[in-house]
C-alpha cells in the first residue's frame, strides 16, 4: 500500500463519518391520527396543527370528530406536530407543492409565508359580523400589508409576577413604575440568603423581548413605521437599556449574571421562592399551580415609565392559497371559532380569549388572573411583522447581552446593533423591489 492509498482510504472514511446524519435537535412527536379511508365524495381538509402541549392531540381529535359529525360531507385530517419542527415541515411541504389546507402558525412566520404568496387572504371570507365578534387588537397580529391573513388562535400577553410572601415581608405592594420597581426590588433583595429582587433574562430566545418591556414602557419603538430603519437606539431605547443594566450592576437587585438565565431558568428561580418579581406570560400560573401550589403570588401590569405596555402575541390560523376546497376549509374555521369551543381552548391551554363573548364569560371575568391579563391586552404591542424578524431579533439580543455583560455601553451596543439591523432591512427592502 502506498501513502496515497492510505490517504484515499482516510478520505473515504471522512466522507462516511462526516456524511452521517447528525443528531436532530428536535424530534417530531408522532404523526397524528391516521386518515380514515376517504369514502366516496367527501371533500378533504388537511390541518397541520402545531402542538401547544400534551393536551393538543386529544383536543384536536375531539374537534375533528365533532366537526365531522356536523358535516358528514367533509373529511378533516388534523396532523399534530411539534412547534420546533413545525416551520421546517411546513417549508418542506410548501416547497414540494403539497401545503396543507390549514395551519396554526407563529405570527412572526406570517410575513415570510405571505411574501411567498402561499397564504390565502381572508378579507373576503370574514364577514363584518364575524369580525365584530373578535376583540379588535387580536386581529392586528395577522394584518400584513393591508390584508387579513389569519385569525388569532393563541393570544397571550405578559405581566409582572410577584412573590406575595417576599413582598409582604418587605411591606411592599407590587410596583407600578420604574422607581417603585427599584424600591420594591431593593426591599426584597437579600443575596446572602440567595433571594433576589427582580429577575432579568439574559440568555437564549426572547432575551431581546425582556428589554422591549422597558423600551416600550419608555415610549421607544423597535423599527420605524415602514420597517426601513431601526429606531431602537433612540434616547428612549438607550435609557431603557441603561435602566436594565443599572438594575443588574448599580442597584444590584437582580440575580447575579443574568446571561446565565433563560426564561425557564428565571421561572425555576421564581418557583423556588428566591425571586421576588419577574415578567412572563399566562402559561406560568398553570405551572405554579401544578409545581408549587403553596407559593403565594400576585400579578401586576409590567411597571410603566412613560407608557403602560405589555407584549401581545397571537398565533394565527391560516388558510393556504393552494387549498382546493376553500369553502369546506372555511366551514371548519367557522366551526373552530365557536365560543364554547374557544372557552374550552382557553381553559385547556391557558391562552387568552380572542372572542368578546368568551372574554365576557363568567369563567374569565370571575378569575383575578384572567381579568388582569384581559385588562392588559389593549396595551399590548406586537413585535414588528418583518420577514427577517428572527435575524433582527438575534442582532438585538446580541446588543442587549453586550450591555448586560458590560463589554459595551448601552449606547454603543445599541448603535452597533442598529447598524447591523439596518443592513438586514436594506437587504430585505432590495429583494422586495
Amino acid at each position: 500500500m502506498t501513502r496515497w492509498t492510505i490517504a484515499t482510504l482516510v478520505a473515504l472514511l471522512v466522507l462516511l463519518v462526516a456524511g452521517c446524519p447528525q443528531q436532530q435537535p428536535t424530534e417530531t412527536i408522532g404523526g397524528g391520527p391516521e386518515a380514515p379511508a376517504t369514502g366516496g365524495d367527501r371533500t378533504e381538509v388537511r390541518f397541520l396543527a402545531m402542538e401547544y402541549d400534551t393536551n393538543t392531540r386529544p383536543f384536536m381529535q375531539k374537534v375533528e370528530q365533532q366537526f365531522e359529525q356536523a358535516n358528514p360531507d367533509v373529511d378533516v385530517n388534523i396532523e399534530v406536530i411539534d412547534w420546533n419542527a413545525g416551520f421546517q415541515k411546513l417549508s418542506t411541504l410548501i416547497a414540494a407543492d403539497n401545503a396543507p389546507d390549514l395551519a396554526n402558525i407563529a405570527t412572526i412566520w406570517l410575513p415570510e409565508l405571505a411574501d411567498l404568496d402561499v397564504v390565502q387572504p381572508l378579507d373576503d371570507f370574514v364577514s363584518e359580523e364575524m369580525r365584530e365578534r373578535f376583540i379588535p387588537m387580536t386581529l392586528e397580529g395577522a394584518q400584513y400589508q393591508g390584508h387579513l391573513y389569519g385569525l388569532p388562535i393563541a393570544v397571550s400577553a405578559r405581566a409582572l409576577y410577584c412573590n406575595a410572601d417576599l413582598l409582604a415581608q418587605a411591606g411592599k405592594e407590587p410596583p407600578a413604575n420604574w422607581d417603585e420597581l427599584v424600591e420594591v426590588a431593593r426591599a426584597c433583595n437579600n443575596p446572602d440568603e440567595g433571594i433576589y429582587g427582580f429577575g432579568m433574562q439574559g440568555a437564549k430566545v426572547e432575551t431581546d423581548v425582556y428589554w422591549y418591556y422597558f423600551l416600550w414602557a419608555n415610549g421607544g419603538r423597535i423599527l420605524n413605521d415602514d420597517h426601513t430603519r431601526a429606531v431602537f437606539n433612540s434616547p428612549e431605547g438607550v435609557e431603557a437599556l441603561q435602566f436594565c443594566v443599572d438594575l443588574i450592576h448599580r442597584y444590584q437587585v437582580t440575580e447575579p449574571d443574568p446571561t446565565a438565565y433563560d426564561r425557564e431558568g428565571l421561572q425555576e428561580l421564581f418557583k423556588s421562592g428566591r425571586l421576588a418579581m419577574m415578567i412572563t406570560g399566562p402559561w406560568f400560573w398553570g405551572m405554579l399551580k401544578e409545581d408549587v401550589p403553596d407559593l403565594n403570588y400576585k400579578l401586576a401590569p409590567i411597571p410603566a415609565h412613560t407608557d403602560q405596555v405589555t407584549m401581545a402575541v397571537t398565533d394565527n390560523l391560516i388558510m393556504f392559497e393552494s387549498c382546493e376546497n376553500k369553502d369546506a376549509a372555511w366551514k371548519f374555521i367557522e366551526f373552530f371559532y365557536d365560543p364554547e369551543l374557544r372557552l374550552e381552548w382557553a381553559e385547556t391551554f391557558g391562552m387568552l380569549p380572542e372572542l368578546k363573548e368568551v372574554a365576557e364569560s363568567d369563567y374569565i371575568t370571575g378569575s383575578e388572573q384572567w381579568s388582569l391579563f384581559m385588562s392588559l391586552l389593549p396595551t399590548g404591542r406586537f413585535v414588528p411583522l418583518h420577514p427577517r424578524w428572527t435575524t433582527i431579533a438575534e442582532e438585538i439580543k446580541l446588543g442587549v447581552q453586550e450591555a448586560q455583560l458590560q463589554t459595551s455601553t448601552p449606547q454603543k451596543a445599541l448603535d452597533a446593533a442598529a447598524e447591523r439591523v439596518n443592513r438586514i432591512l436594506a437587504q430585505a427592502g432590495g429583494e422586495a423591489e
Binding site: A7, S91, A95, E112
Partner: protein
C-alpha cells in the same frame, strides 16, 4: 471463470450497502455541494445555478470570520488534545491488572450510552449558578464562597462546554486506545524489562510507536466528531452569551434553520466538509508513514 464468479458474487453482496450509502450519504452530500453554488430561496430549495454569492455572504460576515472560525478551531483543538491525553491515562490504567478491571471498563464505557442531549442537559443543571451541585460543592468545601455562574461569562461558558466536550469524548477514545494497547504483545515489555528499561522508556520505545495506527484513527475520528458536535453547545448555551460559544455547526443551525438563510448554511456545510477532508488527508499523510512501511 471462477474468479469472475467471485467478482460477481462480491458485487452482489456489496450492492445493498452501496445503494443505501448512495441514497442516504452521497446523494445529500452532492446535493449540498450543488445547492451551495446556487441561488437559494427562503424555503431552502436551490434556484439558479452558478453563483458564489453564498460564500461571499459568509466571507463578508465579520462574526463568522473573526469569531466563529477561531472559536471552532480552539474548541476542536482543545477538546481533541484534552481527550487524547486523558484517554491515554485511562487506557493505560485499564490495561493494568487492576482488581475489578472489567467493571471499571464497563463504567468508562457507560457515558457513551447516554444521549449527548441528555448529558448536556444534566451538565447545564450541574453548573447552575445557585442550585447546581458543582457550586454547591465549591461552597461546601469552602473553596470559594462566591462560585461563578459558569455559563454566564463568555470565557467561563466556553471553558465549560469544552470540559463537557472532553468528558463525552473519553469513553470512545479510551476504548479505542485500550484495544490498541491490548494488541501489543507482552513479550516486548518482558524483553525491555530484562534490558532494564524504565517505565517511561518502555512507553516511549514500545507503546507509542506500536499504538501509532490506533492513535491516528482516534485523532482523525475525534477531530471529525468534535468539529461537527452540535448538541452539547446548543443545549448548554445556544452559542451565547453574545455568540461567544458558537462553533460552525451551531452557527449553521442558527443561520440556516432558525433564520432560514439556507444558502449560507449550505456554504458552511461545504467549508466544514472541505476542512475535514483536507485535515484528514494531510494528517494521515504526515503521520501514516510508519504503517505504510509495515504494510
Amino acid at each position: 471463470m471462477k474468479q469472475r464468479r467471485d467478482t460477481l458474487l462480491a458485487l452482489a453482496f456489496l450492492a445493498p450497502a452501496a445503494l443505501l450509502l448512495t441514497g442516504v450519504v452521497f446523494y445529500p452530500i452532492l446535493q449540498t455541494f450543488y445547492a451551495s453554488v446556487c441561488e437559494v430561496d427562503r424555503k431552502g430549495s436551490p434556484g439558479a445555478f452558478g453563483t458564489l454569492k453564498n460564500f461571499h455572504d459568509l466571507a463578508a460576515s465579520d462574526v463568522f470570520t473573526r469569531e466563529i472560525i477561531p472559536q471552532t478551531l480552539v474548541w476542536t483543538a482543545v477538546v481533541v488534545v484534552g481527550t487524547m491525553l486523558i484517554s491515554m491515562f485511562v487506557a493505560l490504567a485499564l490495561n493494568e491488572h487492576l482488581p475489578g478491571r472489567r467493571l471499571l471498563r464497563a463504567i468508562v464505557l457507560l457515558p457513551w450510552a447516554t444521549s449527548l442531549v441528555i448529558t448536556a442537559a444534566i451538565y447545564t443543571w450541574m453548573l447552575h449558578p445557585t442550585q447546581g451541585p458543582v457550586n454547591g460543592l465549591l461552597r461546601a468545601w469552602h473553596i470559594t464562597d462566591t462560585p461563578p455562574a459558569w455559563l454566564a461569562r463568555p470565557e467561563l461558558a466556553f471553558a465549560s462546554v469544552i470540559a463537557v466536550g472532553i468528558w463525552v469524548s473519553i469513553p470512545f477514545t479510551s476504548t479505542v486506545l485500550l484495544a490498541g494497547l491490548q494488541a501489543i504483545p507482552d513479550d516486548l515489555y518482558e524483553a525491555a524489562l530484562i534490558d532494564g528499561a524504565s517505565a517511561w522508556q518502555r512507553f516511549r520505545a514500545i507503546t507509542l510507536p506500536l499504538l501509532r495506527p490506533v492513535l491516528l484513527v482516534a485523532v482523525v475520528l475525534n477531530v471529525i466528531y468534535v468539529f461537527n458536535s452540535f448538541p452539547i453547545i446548543w443545549v448548554m448555551t445556544e452559542g451565547g452569551p453574545a455568540n461567544q460559544t458558537h462553533i460552525i455547526v451551531t452557527w449553521m443551525y442558527k443561520i440556516a434553520i432558525r433564520e432560514r438563510e439556507f444558502g449560507q448554511g449550505y456554504a458552511m456545510a461545504v467549508i466544514t466538509f472541505a476542512f475535514l477532508l483536507v485535515f484528514a488527508v494531510v494528517y494521515s499523510w504526515l503521520f501514516g508513514r510508519e504503517e505504510v512501511d509495515r504494510l
